[in-house]
Subunit: 375 residues, 2 copies
């Protein structure tokens, strides 16, 4: 849903790039939280290494590699491996509507959004937990059976084990929290902070389809009850992009394993917003070429509230991956992985001009236009 | 709140001990989920070891030690260490009411209930994530500032780092999902399934206070705005047990590190229910001596809906630890840890008579009387 946007603790401006902070109490709040958490972590670490002996008898207790401020947190598991962990809330009427989706799609999407975060760290998903709150009314229906069918189908596809969760009653709305743990080689998680001027910017797949799908839903379009992804019309394909997104698990894991990506983020808020996050964390700018932005080919077949380029730039929830690669390594990228192509859309620049886009012959500022929950 | 009970995926009957399943659709559902998850995990493991080479280039990918069916899931981090992970939903009007608590207590409790699960695994808590959904109205208030104050105060006390989370808008109610990751030495997590006949049964602290606190709240009692835990009346102490529970982190970690406990569970549903979970998972019975059950000394000072013994046996949310120890190792237990005492309340028996209690000279069945969300 357009009305959603994902304001994870990750999606935070750093203090030195605070353009949006004044415009958004939400970003300011999360930024404060990030600073508090970092300060406390450092204080606790100092205390435990100097004053108070660590009470654990573990010889090498695990250590935090990366806290709030990326698609997922990273902590060290062993000398060989790190774990990444992410959590995503889905709230009825904010993140989805029961009338426009199905329990099965919802189960799929709950896992998909967290798998996408793990992919954006260059990690391979391993374990998941799922907390679900539903009303006593819905408990009486087949909702949960169908919901878990959708969830398990996607989990099986990627070999992810459901290891825990919580089931609770709610007064009325459905509430879902999806937690995924992924694994990378030690030190190989791909952060948002490693881009340098000259790096090439790539995006997987095609953009704008999920936002278009949402618009079609709001115009009253619905998926036929028996549609599958293989037999769909252009309209249904756009609805699928919104209701049943496909996380780029294979691309993410491949990039992490090869160590090719210098930064990566998943496109949940929209290219303009997520590119801005990435540039802020890396302290760089970017120049995008509009002619190369891969907007979803189905967009031009429908009358939508925005043109294909705007949807591709600002429409959220595509769950494609945006990543950067050093120029001399860019040729090592395959044309596609698991049937998903990749497109070079621009280049990292120094931070002076922020994020820019070249449309026709003109270069202009690319302003983030994602959704925020609170202002 | 009495109206709550925690129906985690953990709180599940095993197929061979299905006494409660027919009485509760909820338990049946979670049991199905557990079976599905286990079957899928085994299938995926077979597939990945025989047909499909694991795509990860990690030499020793982490492996699942324990999935659904305990206070937390356990997965292997390295040859030295395992991680435990738990998640707990708190839903407004089901798990708490805004009128009877404070944002600070709520922040404390959100973390406390998950720390308690980690303690029950014999693990030491290390990292946490917190997802919070609130309405736009509440966003305008100081709610979140106070909420995180309570949360961080408890996190600092135990050296737990907040590493991530999600902030979302909700239509009206507050929704919280708290995730904690703990660490044990490899193979040292304390499960529910290791009790043998003859093991001694112990419980930390005192029981029934949280349920009594809830009754007092429902009778209209409120904490004075400036009360602290040090200057409280008997009434306030009971309210604190309900609103600001203290997880037994030090006891849990100590028992895990020493390898003394053969099973452990935290008392969230109530002694009668949680003892039944533990006995089912171990395939044993238990005989409790009512004279030794440590009911909260404040209980007898108030007119409550149930007598102190009933509150101690069936009142939930005390977040004390219930554990078993081999008889010849029982003397190694200290009288208290971090100011919290421990009491021997009975003995594990063979499974023939299930859970029993001796009251006066009479032995009778101890029936679980915890809350279930759905029937």
């Amino acid at each position: 849903m357009r009305d959603e946007g994902r304001k994870k603790h990750s999606d935070v401006t750093s203090p030195s790039h605070s353009a949006r902070r004044s415009a958004s109490g939400e970003f300011a709040f999360i930024e404060r939280l990030r600073e508090q958490a970092h300060r406390r972590h450092n204080t606790n670490r100092q205390l435990s290494s100097s004053l108070i002996p660590h009470p654990s008898s573990l010889r090498n207790p695990s250590s935090l590699v990366l806290g709030i401020g990326d698609d997922a947190a990273v902590f060290r598991a062993s000398s060989q491996a790190d774990f990444c962990i992410t959590t995503d809330l889905l709230i009825e009427e904010i993140d989805f509507r029961r009338q426009t989706t199905t329990p099965r799609f919802l189960g799929h999407k709950a896992l998909a959004v967290s798998l996408s975060d793990i992919a954006a760290m260059g990690a391979r998903p391993r374990f998941c937990l799922l907390s679900v709150g539903i009303s006593a009314d819905i408990w009486q229906t087949r909702f949960l059976d169908q919901f878990y069918k959708g969830f398990f189908a996607l989990a099986d596809e990627h070999g992810v084990a459901l290891v825990g969760g919580d089931v609770s009653r709610t007064p009325e709305r459905i509430v879902i929290d999806s937690i995924v743990i992924g694994e990378t080689k030690h030190g190989r998680a791909v952060l948002r902070s490693g881009a340098r001027p000259g790096d090439h910017i790539f995006v997987t797949g095609a953009l704008g389809g999920a936002a278009a799908g949402l618009q079609l839903l709001e115009q009253g379009a619905r998926l036929p009850s028996r549609s599958t992804r293989r037999t769909t019309s252009a309209r249904d394909q756009l609805l699928f992009r919104q209701l049943r997104p496909t996380p780029r698990v294979e691309w993410g894991a491949w990039l992490g394993e090869k160590g090719l990506a210098t930064t990566m983020i998943d496109l949940s808020d929209g290219l303009s917003s997520d590119l801005a996050h990435l540039c802020r964390e890396s302290g760089v700018g970017a120049l995008i070429d509009a002619a190369h932005v891969p907007s979803d080919p189905n967009l031009k077949r429908f009358k939508l509230e925005a043109d294909p380029l705007s949807l591709a730039l600002h429409g959220g929830e595509d769950y494609e991956l945006l990543f950067t690669v050093r120029p001399r390594q860019a040729r090592q990228l395959p044309a596609e992985i698991a049937g998903v192509s990749v497109t070079r859309i621009g280049e990292i620049t120094d931070g002076v001009h922020g994020c820019q886009i070249k449309i026709g012959g003109r270069t202009q500022a690319l302003k983030p236009a994602g959704f925020v929950h609170f202002n």
